[in-house]
Symmetry: C2
Subunit: 197 residues, 2 copies
């Protein structure tokens, strides 16, 4: 058996990545017709980044943010999606995601394995302005889906307005405070309507 070429290894990785299209999230499409998968969610977030770039602070590198969003959910091929309103064992999730990153980025030629893994690790650590903006977009998109579909995963998980503030708003506000101001007001209006009906 001959050794794989650089291009063979790159294509192996890209074919493996196709499996992210079968990772199902708790969030529904805006029309409520089905749950979204992590591949199309990742695309949607890159579009959020392009359109909402004016919400980012001056130290954010938009091009890096987009790379983070392309890569951010790849580990879910092995580790699955963890709904934010479910009961989460953070240590177990992190261990599963690190093992997934070893395997999946490990398909690539070594230089690319290290380069793309480092971008994903920067996103996960959420300490740089670019990672914090990327994380905020990842938390901001699901409420926009739920507002469009009339409840979505909030209804499915019986989520209160306070829980959204605690688990979602507290994250959005770090990297994109203007987006949390916007979401907070729309979420309040949504829950007010729910109470009055």
């Amino acid at each position: 058996m001959t050794e794989k070429s650089r291009l063979d290894r790159q294509i192996d990785f890209l074919v493996e990545a196709d499996k992210l299209k079968n990772t199902i999230r708790a969030t529904e499409l805006c029309d409520g017709s089905r749950n979204e998968n992590s591949a199309e969610h990742s695309w949607h977030l890159t579009l959020y980044a392009l359109v909402l770039a004016d919400q980012a602070g001056p130290e954010v590198d938009l091009s890096l943010v987009i790379k983070m969003l392309i890569l951010h959910d790849l580990v879910e091929i092995d580790a699955g999606d963890n709904p934010i309103f479910g009961d989460l064992d953070h240590a177990a999730i992190e261990a599963a995601e690190q093992a997934a990153a070893d395997r999946i980025f490990g398909l690539l030629p070594e230089d690319q394995r290290d380069h793309l893994r480092a971008i994903w690790e920067e996103f996960e650590a959420a300490r740089t302005p670019s990672a914090q903006f990327a994380k905020s977009l990842d938390r901001f998109q699901p409420p926009m889906q739920n507002l469009a579909s009339g409840g979505g995963s909030w209804t499915d998980y019986d989520v209160s307005e306070q829980q959204i503030h605690d688990r979602v708003g507290s994250k959005i506000v770090i990297g994109a405070p203007g987006l949390w101001d916007y979401a907070k007001a729309r979420i309040a209006a949504f829950f007010a309507t729910q109470k009055s009906t």
Copy 2:
């Protein structure tokens, strides 16, 4: 009724873009389980761009390529996907896609409408090195899916090796000749196996 804010218009566009997740392509997933949609396809192409950047010529701006790939299929929300091996009325497709671009990019604030539309038009025109590389990736991914699934849309559309050279290879070679060399050899091996069984 008060006028919509900048952020309202941006979110209207992002919610409308969600519909690309319901635009179904001729290409199947690598596991052959279903056809892929244009949103997850767009994500996959951005990953192709990140991983295969070393196949691009020196004048290619990778960051612009990725923006093109994020945006390239949005018009399909109105105009639908046109399978490359189907019978195509190019003038009718172009008219439908221009009308779609008017409507969809038109949801955005004017400055962003013009900026993102210009990126999409550059992709469509396929005259700059970045657009040519982006177009090549868009043609290169489906053969990789078909090779992984054992035929996919080639089987569905009863496509010959020569038709792939004419309709796909002739495009890939413009922006990424190294990728066409690679694909051509793997496609030849695939069709040789088909004949021998």
